[in-house]
């Protein structure tokens, strides 16, 4: 039977998504749990993100040099949309982070570093938004973010 280009694309797409899934699903689930603090909801979001990823064209999926960073940006956009349309709001997510001060990799950070890192990494806030919130210059926020990143990196290396 003659198969159309669209049919071939649909048939091959799951293999590409599967290889991305095998490599990054555990990392992405760890990240989403960091955001929503609920494994069941995080698993639902993981399913939704990979299903949505299958709808993207190849150029959209592979345009970055680092696939994980590209996937993370895509996941953040999806989670932002969910946060806008469902019961989970950013303010609730912030509260969850305040409760989560004992997080293994964040424990070495001071309060400001923790706030800046979690707001950018998990909540997707811009440095400009954080500078307004904390009433500090954006240059200082970026410096804090750099320091936080360096501390976490060091913690992961040990």
């Amino acid at each position: 039977m003659l198969r159309t280009d669209k049919q071939l694309y649909i048939d091959n797409k799951p293999n590409q998504i599967r290889s991305l899934y095998e490599k990054y699903a555990s990392m992405l689930l760890g990240y989403i749990i960091g955001v929503v603090k609920d494994q069941k909801i995080a698993e639902d979001y993981l399913v939704m993100i990979f299903a949505e990823l299958s709808q993207q064209s190849d150029s959209q999926v592979w345009e970055s040099t680092n696939n994980w960073c590209q996937l993370l940006r895509f996941a953040k956009d999806q989670l932002r949309e969910i946060a806008n349309t469902t019961a989970i709001k950013k303010s609730e997510l912030s509260d969850l982070f305040i409760q989560n001060t004992q997080d293994k990799y964040l424990s070495d950070l001071n309060e400001e570093q923790k706030k800046v890192f979690t707001d950018t990494y998990y909540l997707g806030k811009s440095t400009n938004a954080i500078s307004i919130e904390l009433n500090k210059p954006e240059v200082s926020i970026r410096k804090t973010l750099k320091e936080a990143f360096a501390v976490i990196k060091k913690g992961c290396e040990n």
Partner: protein
């Protein structure tokens, strides 16, 4: 602009974490094209971010991929469907039936294989061992029965010989 100062400013971290503005991103990409140090620093940061995520990784349960496949198949067969939404609030009474019929579609699997829970491994092993035990008993009782029948025949013959010497 001094490139080292730019790298040390934290703008690269903001970009990698998705916290940079559109203007900052376009400036960074422009500088990256002209200064290979920025490209190298970005590559290193992206690798670090991947390593951090690996340390925070949590393995998803095995059925997650099946759910993703089902979702992909559903989206592929319904090209004009809108974005899939996950509503965390429970559905109102009366809407439950309607939602169920519209959320799920019948999909006939093309695979000849089936997936079963790991617990069935022990059930199959128990059935196999019990089967062997029953077979052993069956053989034992069959042989014992045959032996007793032979003895009865022998005794009958002896009795017959004693009656008619």
């Amino acid at each position: 602009m001094k490139i080292n100062e730019y790298i040390e400013s934290g703008i690269l971290e903001a970009y990698v974490l998705g916290a940079a503005s559109e203007t900052e991103i376009s400036e960074l990409l422009d500088l990256k094209a002209r200064h290979p140090q920025i490209g190298d620093a970005l590559y290193e940061l992206e690798t670090d971010l991947e390593r951090i995520a690996q340390h925070m990784a949590i393995t998803p349960p095995p059925e997650i991929w099946t759910r993703i496949e089902d979702n992909i198949n559903e989206l592929a067969t319904r090209p004009h469907v809108g974005r899939l939404r996950i509503d965390t609030s429970p559905p109102k009474e009366g809407q439950r039936g309607k939602q169920k019929s519209s959320q799920f579609i019948e999909v006939e699997s093309q695979s000849n294989h089936m997936r079963i829970h790991k617990v069935w491994r022990w059930v199959f092993a128990a059935v196999f061992i019990l089967g062997k035990i029953f077979l052993g008993f069956a053989i034992y009782f069959y042989l014992a029965n045959r032996q007793s029948e032979e003895k009865i025949i022998e005794l009958k013959t002896e009795l017959r010989q004693q009656k008619h010497p």
